[in-house]
Subunit: 145 residues, 2 copies
DNA sequence: ATAAACTCTAGAGTTAACTCTAAGTCAAGA
DNA sequence: TCTTGACTTAGAGTTAACTCTAGAGTTTAT
């Protein structure tokens, strides 16, 4: 089974424009072209795109993704670099997860705070809530810093 | 206690340039200026910056953060909108977390794969590993799709 | 009191990642 | 066969978020 650029775009949640841009940037050297010059995506190409999406979605820049793709084209001599790259990316993702967790605490605090404020239709009442104040100190740091 | 723009920049891991840019964009209407025109950041201003950082770090655009800041300046009439905003942001963060989790599975698979490939110094050997193939099918989808 | 380090504004420049346009070619259905 | 929609390239334009420069003023430490 093979796919046109439009079908792949839809499957991956991108535009055909974006896919051509990636190709131009050297991220899709594996994609074949038909006799008339149209890109023909294979099942395997979709797997590549899933990995590209994964690296992009975890904050890697296109030029670094290209580095990885280039290593893949070079063969077995770059296996170590590729393994290292994924290990580095893993630790970045772990960082992102713990960062997101901290952001979530702040957001949850704000939701509790505004829920209280909306209930009283006033900011000042929420400010007097002892329970929220304790929560605030825990998440944002001491009041008298 | 109050802080100069440089001190705040260091505390927040930004540059003074960036803080001035945020100010220009209307994100810091609460920051006072000294008689000679220099910005003077209070303890409370740092809390604002922590929230701005939280919203930015969870993918909100500066113009939407400004919307929130504007609502805050408007007083009690916008409490509901602000609560809604944080609830929306919370669900975005939940999405991001589950997305990151899925990316992590793919990265872990790749690490396992490349670890095997490096051990054999060959891609082909890794391809024959049944255990990794099963893992691959689980994470990337069926082979014959 | 003076040098060094910091701050100010206005505005120009940069970067990454698209996003779109033009002008043409190709493929599938009536 | 014709039309409609999808595809092609080259290249220009856009957007968000900085990032930097110039030239002037301010603060701090000796």
């Amino acid at each position: 089974m093979s796919y046109t650029i439009g079908q792949v775009a839809q499957k991956m949640g991108l535009t055909a424009h974006t896919l051509r841009y990636y190709d131009k940037e050297g991220l899709l050297p594996f994609v074949r072209k038909s006799g008339s010059g149209q890109r023909v995506f294979s099942e395997e190409d979709l797997d590549w795109l899933v990995i590209i999406d994964c690296l992009k979605g975890t904050g890697m820049q296109l030029k670094d993704i290209k580095q990885y793709i280039d290593w893949c084209q070079e063969g077995n001599s770059t296996l170590r670099q590729r393994l290292e790259m994924f290990k580095k990316q893993k630790s970045r993702v772990e960082q992102q997860m713990s960062q997101l967790q901290q952001y979530m605490e702040k957001i949850n605090y704000k939701i509790a705070w505004y829920t209280e404020a909306v209930a009283n239709n006033s900011i000042d009442k929420a400010k007097q809530n002892k329970c929220l104040a304790a929560e605030r100190a825990r998440i944002f740091g001491q009041p008298g810093k």
